[in-house]
Structure formats: structure tokens, C-alpha cells
Amino acid sequence: MMNPRPLAGGVSAMAIRRRTLLKGALGAGALAGLAGCGGGDDGGGGGGAVTFGSNWSDEVPKNAIAAMMKGHDAEVSINTVDHNSFQENINNYLQGGPDDVFGWFAGYRMQFFAEQGLVGDISDVWSDIGSGFSEAMKQQATGADGKQYFVPLYYYPWAVFYRKSVWAERGYTPPATMDEFVALSKQMQGDGLVPLSFGDSDGWPAMGTFDYLNLRINGYDFHVELMAGERPWNSQEVKNVFDAWRELLPYHQPDALGRTWQEAAQTLLRKESGMYLIGMFMGQQFPEGPERDDLDFFPFPEIDPAVGADAVEAPIDGFMMAARPRNEEGAKDLLRYLGTAEAEDAYLAVDPNNVAAHDDADTSGYSALQKKSQELVSGAKSISQFLDRDTRPDFASTVMIPSLQAFLRDPDDVDGLTKSIEEQKASIFGG
């Protein structure tokens, strides 16, 4: 549910879960643990079709995955699970009998499971497919131990989106620095527009703002270390991020905590706001045709020239292999195929709302927005994965979401807030 990609299946999945919740879930967790004790080792050789666990459960991505798998020269049996359920049950899934290959996300969220020994090392696959991916992509597919565990499929960058027609009418130009950004915001307010659409009812959209301010003020390396729990949250560096954010809050759409990101997108659509810092999936909220073609974006502006603006937030989705696949040869063959430009082309031909991760993917059918996204990411020195993918998921959901919402409610108590985050971090990362 923390995934920035909106999914319709979420609510109904929640309804099913409601009753089993308190007793069942705990019991199931305990039973899964017990089952783990006697887990047999049925890995190794063996033939049969390769199984693929898919969390691409929405109609369009589901068809895209099917088209993609059809291109493989061996038989692949696809098990599709509702996206949110897949994510929430990933622990039990990986410890039970996972499919040989399954869909997952890059970043710490991948490294975490690699560290627990729940996913398979595919470094040998990478020696075959590696030439097709940029260094930044490879970095995102690599675990803390230097081995590769992940094959990227596509990404969707976060940036500041706007409507070309509104900007042309008012004569706005994309700001390159924070000073220009603030000046533009003031101009928009003078013109009766809300400068920045903002909706944080779900808790995760604000992470994008935090990430970008942090990347621009403290840099990519600091972001990685902070997310990994190696840096204190009550440091001056983090306080600077919140201080900068407070300066920008007057330009944000007010009452953001009660607004979903979709509702915030509507204000941009209705030309009531001038900009919106969000992921590329926001385009889904714009009707196909002239409205969607009217969308454009600019990268989050530079704050400190010494740090620059060459870090881009672009969550990557892709594939991983089970720790002990039933058909290891077949699984690796499949991953080799999935890491080719042809496979990604087959996917994006059906679902063109993303940008292919492969360097040689066919870009001739790309929309202007896709092309621009590709340029943005391929020109980036480093790619971050979004706060909830770059840190422990439990820390992101139980500490960071409430804390960022607390900041938006009461932006003045940064000292108390960062101290509280640091204390909670210690209790989660501490062990």
C-alpha cells in the first residue's frame, strides 16, 4: 500500500483482510514461522515450466506482462496476485514456496530481502545482460554484498509537472534554482493560482518532497546513508531540510492532509494550480488526448550549487529470482530474456505509461513526456528510489509517514520532531 503507484485493488483486498486481521494475521505469522522450521530443501535441478509470480494485477500491466512472457522461447506459467496483497504478504510468500521468478522493486527494499537470504544471486545473469544497462541501473540492482539480485524493467521519475498551456498563457519559464522557484511561486500567487498542488492523505506523497529537498541540500550519498539508518535524524543536515520545506509551505496547497494525490491532480487539471511535484503516474489522472499531451515537467530545482541537481528520484520496478527456485536454469534463462530490449519493448507496447530501463529499448513510440523522462534519468548521476523504497519498509510506514504528517500539521517544532524520529529509528534499526 506504500507503493506510489495507485491501484484499484487495494480497498477490496483490505475488506477481505478485516476479519482475519488481529488474531488471524498474528497466528498466520507464527504458523509461517513454524512452517519455516521444517522447510525441506526441494531446490536444485528439476525441469518443468518456469513459474512467474506477478504483482502486475491491473488490466493494462497484466496484459503487458502476458505479452512480454509470450516472447520467451520456453513456457512460463504466470501467477498473478493483487498488487497490494502481494506486497503485504511478501514475507510469507518468500518463506513459503515462492515462484521461480517474481516481480519486485529496486533499492533498499530489494537489498533487505537479499540480506535475509530470501532471494537468489543472479550475478551470472548480469554478466550477460549488464552491457544493456547504465551504471546507475546496475547500482540499483546490486545488493549490499556487491552481487546482483534484480533485473530492471521500467522506471517512472518524480518531477515538477505543469500544464504547458497555462504556462504559455502566463509567460512562465521553468526555474533552475530555488530562488527562481520561489519567485515563480509568488508570481503564481499574484495571478490567483495555487503554486504547488499537494495532497498527502495517503502519507507517501510528502516523502517525494522530503527526498528532493534532501537530495538537493545534502546530496545523494547523504540520502542513502540517512535511509540506511547510518546517520542521525536529529542532525543539523536533516533540520535544514525541514527548515527549507517550511519556507516553501506557504506555496503548497493548504489542508493537504485531507486530500488524496488524485484530488490534488484534479486542481492541476482544472488549471487552478501551477505546478505539482509527483511521479509520472500522475498522467493517468489526465484524460488521454489533448489534456494529457498538455502535461510537461521540469526537474526539481537546484538549491546548493556545490550539490547540484543531478540526482533524480525514479523508482524502478523489475524482477527477482527466488532463493531456491525449482527450476534454476529455466529461471535464469527467463531473467536473461527479461533483461533484453526486446522484452521491455513488448511490455511497453501494451503499457506505455512508463519508461524502459534498458538502454537499447525502442523509443520511437514514446510520447514527448516519456522521451523527456528518459533524458532526465539517463542524464542523472544518481537515481534514488523514493523514501519508502530506500529504507526499511516498517520505518517508512510506521515512523516516517506519521512524522511527515506531524511536520505538515505543526511545521515549527522541528527539534522535537527530529528527536522523536531518531528515537524511533533507534528502536527499529537498533537490533
Binding site: M1, M2, V11, S12, M14, A15, R17, R18, L21, L22, K23, G24, A25, L26, G27, G29, A30, A32, G33, G36, C37, Q87, E88, I90, N91, N92, Q95, R109, F112, Q116, L118, S201, D202, G203, P254, D255, A256, L257, G258, R259, E263, Q266, T267, R392, P393, D394, S397, T398, I401, P402, S403, Q405, A406, R409, S420, E423, Q424, S427, I428, G431
Partner: protein, 308 residues
């Protein structure tokens, strides 16, 4: 009399012996199956929850990898987990509001509908409908009503721009907004239960009261209310249970954050999901079990006292 008392004991074993093998099997199954189900699905997990609450288990790995951390999780929950205090307060508030609001309203509606008004069935259906609607739909309906930018309520109140009320986002009022939504469902539920109870009351009682010259109000308070005592207790217990496990609407709106913290949503946030904090979440769940136990004990004492 004394003679019979003496004679009785030898009779008993003879009766047991008359049970055939099939009977014994049937009885054994009837006792064993529910016991296994209750122990396996209720007591086992509950006990496991309490045990896990003293560990730092993250849901991954064998039982051998579980470390016992003593009261650490409870200490963390009460000292450095900001949502914990609000969650407890919100659950208590929920309980109080449910008693004085929807429960009372449901009872009153039931009493009114019991008087064979014209179109009584239509009213029943209308009030009961929220109970049968799916959770997803209920969440969606209230989103349409409460939304700050596009909501019905703000439009009807004629508020514009900055004056619009942020029903879901303002932590001072969103709990009340949710209580209205949850109460909307609870009222119908209580109404139906109470109505069923009222229908079962022997009409002769009312007639007798009427013959004795008692008015409507007096009949209800002195005759119907005491007869309805078992139903009243059921409704009391249901209201307590519903308040303690209040969850769904708050979860649908914002996953129980920012003013909508409830113990149940905190447990879910911590336990469900990737890399879950099973130990910490279990500690929260154990606190919930402890609070529920207080109510259960009060209820049992009440019931036992009555039987004496």
C-alpha cells in the same frame, strides 16, 4: 424423599452405560471439534501474540532466530511511539460516543418502528442498508460527502476557498467525521437487533399493561425494558466490541493516521506488510487484549451475579 436420594446414585452409571458407541463418538466429536477450533483459532494465536510481544521478531526466519527482549516493546510503545497515546484516547472516545449516540438512537428507532407505522419496512431497510454495504463502498460514499475540494458537505454549506472545512485532514475534527460515518452503520445494526428483540416480546404483556392503565412510556420502562434485559446486554457487549475493534472506516480514509489513530490500525500498520514489526505490533495487540479482558470480566461478573 430420603429413600429416593439413596436410590439415585446407583442409577447414574447405568445411564452412562446405555450410551452406544455411536453416541460416545458423537459426544466426543461435538466436544472435540469446537475445542480444537477455539483453541487453534482463538486461544493459540492469542497466546502466540502475547509471547511474540516479548520478542523482536520481524516475521522472517525460523523460531530459533527470535530474540526475547523483555518489556522493550511495551516500553517503546508507551515512551517513544507518538501515535500510541492518541490511539488509546480515540478508542475510549469512540466507546463513549457510541453509547450516547448511535446505540441510543438505534434503540429509539427500533421502538418507534415496532409500533407498526405505515412503511415501517421501508424505514427498516433504509436504516439497515449501511450495515450491508461493503466497506469499500462506505469509504467511497463518505469520501464524496467529506472531501474538502469536491465534497457534498462543503458545497451544501456554501463554503469557498480557505473557509472550506477539511473534514478528513484536520486532526481536530476528522475523528468526529469518522464517528458520524461509523455511527451511521452502527445505528442500523443496533436498530435491527433491538427490533428483533421487541418482536419477540409476548403481546399479552402489553395488553396486560394496557388493561392496567399504563401509558406508552410507562409500559416501555416498566414492562418491556425489564423483559428485554438479555437483548440489552447483547447490545451493550456489541457496542463495546465494535468500539474496541473500530477499524475499517479509519483505515480506508488514511490508514489510521493523522488524528485517526486507533489501537487496531496501529497493530495493522506494524504487523501487516513487508518486513513487519511483528514483536512490536504484538505488544500493541496484547495491550488491546488486556483492555478487552477488563470489559469481559465486568460482563462475566454481571452475568454470574444475576444467576445467583
Amino acid at each position: 424423599m430420603a429413600d429416593q436420594a439413596v436410590r439415585r446414585p446407583p442409577r447414574r452409571p447405568r445411564r452412562v452405560r446405555t450410551l452406544s458407541g455411536v453416541d460416545v463418538l458423537t459426544v466426543a466429536l461435538m466436544v472435540a471439534v469446537p475445542t480444537v477450533v477455539v483453541v487453534g483459532l482463538v486461544w493459540g494465536p492469542a497466546l502466540a501474540t502475547v509471547l511474540l510481544s516479548f520478542t523482536d521478531w520481524n516475521g522472517i526466519g525460523n523460531l530459533s532466530e527470535i530474540n526475547f527482549v523483555g518489556w522493550q516493546n511495551y516500553e517503546d510503545a508507551t515512551t517513544n511511539y507518538p501515535p500510541f497515546g492518541p490511539a488509546i484516547r480515540h478508542n475510549v472516545l469512540w466507546l463513549v460516543v457510541f453509547f450516547v449516540g448511535p446505540t441510543l438512537l438505534g434503540v429509539i428507532l427500533a421502538v418507534m418502528l415496532d409500533r407498526e407505522l405505515r412503511g415501517s419496512r421501508i424505514y427498516q431497510s433504509i436504516f439497515f442498508m449501511p450495515v450491508v454495504l461493503s466497506l469499500a463502498l462506505v469509504g467511497f460514499i463518505w469520501q464524496l460527502i467529506y472531501s474538502r475540494d469536491q465534497g457534498l458537505l462543503n458545497e451544501v454549506l456554501g463554503l469557498e476557498g480557505g473557509a472550506r472545512i477539511d473534514f478528513f485532514g484536520n486532526p481536530d475534527i476528522n475523528l468526529w467525521a469518522v464517528l458520524v460515518a461509523a455511527g451511521w452503520r452502527h445505528t442500523g445494526y443496533i436498530m435491527l437487533l433491538y427490533l428483533a428483540g421487541l418482536k419477540a416480546v409476548d403481546p399479552a404483556l402489553r395488553e396486560a399493561a394496557a388493561v392496567d392503565g399504563a401509558g406508552e412510556v410507562r409500559t416501555f420502562l416498566r414492562v418491556i425494558w425489564p423483559v428485554m434485559r438479555p437483548v440489552n446486554i447483547v447490545i451493550l457487549v456489541i457496542t463495546v466490541i465494535e468500539s474496541l475493534r473500530a477499524f475499517d472506516i479509519a483505515w480506508v480514509i488514511n490508514k489510521g493516521r493523522n488524528g485517526l489513530e486507533l489501537i487496531s490500525t496501529l497493530v495493522t500498520q506494524n504487523v501487516i506488510g513487508e518486513a513487519s514489526r511483528v514483536g512490536f505490533g504484538s505488544a500493541l495487540a496484547t495491550i488491546m487484549i488486556a483492555i478487552s479482558t477488563v470489559f469481559i470480566v465486568i460482563y462475566l461478573i454481571q452475568v454470574m451475579r444475576e444467576q445467583k
